[in-house]
């Protein structure tokens, strides 16, 4: 959020849209209410300030912008050590709970495996539809890419909204691929681990 506001002032809905555009392939859309809760908290901490902008088409809007405190907080957070992708994930907790309570978790493992595979399928489909048109050699692929673009354009138009520049996201080339690839690699690792669980604990799940 701080990084989005670092690009320029924006109102809440623009921040929601910017987040969803950046992370739409790999994370659920964020609830706009959560954005306002967070903005209120950031304002209390002195990281952002707002002014009210009159809006002819509807209710007045609060435009938020980053303060020097906020900029410092952003730099500090960027420099902080990042969380490691290890430890007690939901499925790990269920496995342990199942094993120490004699509860059967085989169905949970099978279900989780399938959800991981479906997520991989979704990411593969996204990769196929978002690949630059020049790379696609089959007409079907080109059609799909065109459809996706239409959908995107429509949704952008309907959301509308002007005011600040913070809501604008000019994605660096390849960033979407990298975000999807992160999810693909984590899912592949998770699936390999599930195979290991099944192999080592066969009969005890």
């Amino acid at each position: 959020m701080l990084a989005l506001l670092d690009r320029g002032p924006a109102h809440g809905y623009e921040l929601k849209r910017a987040h969803d555009e950046l992370f739409g392939d790999v994370a659920p859309p964020v609830n706009v209410g959560q954005i306002y809760v967070t903005l209120t908290r950031l304002e209390r901490d002195g990281s952002v300030v707002h002014h009210v902008e009159a809006n002819a088409d509807g209710p007045d809007r609060k435009i938020y912008e980053l303060t020097e405190v906020g900029r410092k907080a952003l730099r500090g957070w960027l420099a902080d050590p990042s969380e490691l992708p290890v430890g007690k994930s939901d499925i790990v907790l269920k496995l342990v709970a199942g094993l120490i309570t004699d509860g059967t978790i085989a169905p949970a493992v099978a279900e989780h495996r399938m959800r991981c595979i479906q997520a991989l399928r979704t990411l593969a489909d996204l990769r196929a539809t978002k690949r630059p048109a020049g790379q696609s050699r089959d007409p079907g692929g080109l059609n799909e890419a065109a459809n996706t673009d239409d959908t995107r354009a429509t949704s952008t138009n309907t959301t509308g909204g002007t005011g600040g520049t913070g809501g604008r996201t000019d994605l660096p080339v390849g960033l979407g691929d990298l975000l999807r690839e992160a999810s693909v690699l984590h899912l592949q690792a998770e699936l390999r681990w599930l195979d290991l669980v099944e192999e080592r604990l066969s009969g005890r799940l």
Partner: protein, 289 residues
């Protein structure tokens, strides 16, 4: 997007029943397949996954008629191939099956184009038709520039595309692929999967063995093999319609579920939407929000 026949349509192109296969003799005997049943519809794309040693490559070799089963039956387009002599099996394979291997198996001293032409020459296709088809395929795969090169000068991804072109050149009913992306990096894997997808979209049945779930996830159906038996079968479905992995990937925590639940009810702004627990939950998984 999927004008392909459903699995219930027509007779299966591949029908396997009660397949067993063991290697070696009594003390060192290793059972690879313990009674496998599998039916594949024309135009279907099936991935066979399982840990190494589960018998998946053995199964593929039996489907290709490269080896014979100890018991059980393999029917290819209705023809029982396990009962055929080695020569007749080779003939059935030549007409119905294209093979793709992890190690590409290109002939090293033949040019790329000659490799693509190989299957057609063996099948007795005319010289002119052979050349035209090879050039068409190489164009399609963006490999015309390297048509006269030797396989060893190509990248792994390029070599595998040549191998798929060779396998598809005779327009076989079925493409059988054994770990086709096993030796490739993720980008080359993507192009090879795209190519198999295109082949399949053109109506060709594809059966591939893979240990890579990301590759298996692109298939119509995943068959799980373990200890020589089919333990599960699933049809992966993407959720592209809903925009992203949203529907499948759980959010960062219980808070995200609550947020998603409340968003449908009340989309208006306001600092404190009712029923949304904020607590210590990292709202967006982004730490410093």
């Amino acid at each position: 997007m999927e004008p392909k026949p459903s699995s219930s349509a027509g007779t299966p192109i591949i029908e396997v029943t009660g397949l067993t296969k063991a290697f070696g003799r009594a003390p060192a005997k290793r059972v690879a397949l313990r009674g496998v049943d599998l039916s594949v519809a024309p135009g279907e794309w099936v991935a066979i996954v399982g840990p190494s040693g589960c018998g998946k490559s053995t199964l593929l070799h039996l489907l290709a008629g490269l080896d014979t089963a100890d018991s059980g039956s393999v029917r290819l387009a209705g023809e029982e191939i396990s009962a055929l002599s080695a020569g007749r099996r080779a003939l059935a394979r030549r007409h119905r099956v294209g093979l793709v291997f992890q190690a590409y198996n290109l002939v090293p001293h033949l040019t790329v184009q000659a490799n693509v032409e190989l299957g057609m020459r063996v099948a007795g296709t005319g010289r002119r038709a052979t050349r035209a088809r090879a050039q068409e395929l190489l164009d399609l795969l963006g490999l015309s520039d390297v048509a006269r090169a030797l396989p060893a000068t190509l990248s792994g991804g390029q070599q595998q595309r040549v191998a798929i072109a060779r396998a598809a050149a005779t327009r076989p009913d079925v493409l059988l692929a054994d770990e086709p992306t096993g030796a490739l990096d993720s980008e080359a894997t993507g192009t090879v999967v795209d190519l198999l997808r295109t082949e399949n979209a053109g109506g060709r049945t594809v059966v591939m063995v893979t240990h890579d779930y990301a590759v298996a996830a692109t298939a119509d159906r995943i068959v799980f093999l373990r200890d020589g038996k089919v333990t599960d079968e699933r049809r992966p479905r993407g959720l592209t319609d809903s925009g992203g992995v949203v529907g499948v990937l759980p959010g960062p925590g219980p808070g995200a579920t609550a947020a998603a639940g409340s968003s449908s009810g009340d989309d208006a702004e306001g600092p404190e939407p009712a029923g949304t627990g904020t607590g210590d939950v990292d709202l967006l998984g982004l730490g410093s929000w």
